[in-house]
């Protein structure tokens, strides 16, 4: 029954690749910030699923820290784009 986790993870990796297309194409800087934020969310979801697939709790702990740090980086990018930094 461990295959379904890897199937779901491969779908999520395909979604990350699609978001990378928008990261490259994005006509304005805010578009690229949106794509980066989406990629961060999907990476957290992928890490949680991999934590179950390999039965390692450390993946989920890293996912928590990654979610909080990516939030901080998104806020800083947003402040820079808004010209307040």
């Amino acid at each position: 029954m461990t295959e379904i986790w890897f199937i779901a993870v491969s779908f999520l990796v395909a979604f990350i690749a699609i978001a990378c297309i928008r990261l490259v194409l994005g006509p304005t800087p805010p578009d690229r910030a949106v794509a980066l934020d989406t990629i961060n969310t999907l990476i957290v979801a992928t890490m949680i699923l991999l934590g179950v697939a390999y039965r390692q709790l450390i993946f989920v702990d890293v996912a928590i820290v990654y979610a909080l740090l990516s939030f901080v980086s998104t806020l800083y990018i947003a402040r820079y784009l808004g010209g307040e930094l």
Binding site: M1, I4, A8, F11, L12, F15, I18, A19, I21, R22, T28, P29, P30, D31, A33, V34, A35, D37, T38, T41, L42, V44, A45, I48, L49, G51, V52, L57, V60, D61, A63, I64, A67, L68, S70, F71, T74, L75, I77, A78, R79, Y80, L81, G82, G83, E84
Partner: protein, 118 residues
């Protein structure tokens, strides 16, 4: 037993909503509508894929009685909670920065914020 019935369904719902968000990210015309697509669908989709993980953890705790599976479920709940709170705030920050840097909504019928700035 619960796991084999419910978890594939939860995973499929989460993946379908995530995929919808990605289509919207490619298809919508400007940054605000793309934010609509990405924020809502990825938050909801991640909640559902993580619910599958929690169902798995509960199922294995019942089967084996090992404490580490309860820990897996608890940490997943904390991760999802952190994600749901921070995702909405991040989207708000990007939208505000986009409007301040002069990106106006495409095909807009009304823009009160532009009037309020002047």
């Amino acid at each position: 037993m619960i796991f084999e019935a419910v978890a594939p369904l939860l995973l499929a719902i989460g993946l379908i909503f995530n995929g919808m968000g990605m289509v919207g990210l490619l298809r919508f015309p400007d940054v605000y509508t793309r934010l609509h697509a990405c924020t809502k669908t990825t938050t909801f989709g991640t909640i559902f894929t993580s619910l599958a993980v929690i169902v798995y953890a509960v199922d294995w705790f019942i089967a084996s009685g090992e404490g580490q599976y309860i820990m897996l479920g608890l940490h997943t709940v904390i991760a999802v909670f952190a994600l749901a709170v921070t995702n909405a705030t991040g989207a708000h920050a990007i939208a505000r920065a986009a409007h301040r840097s002069g990106v106006h909504p495409a095909r807009a019928v009304v823009d009160h914020l532009k009037g309020a700035k002047q």
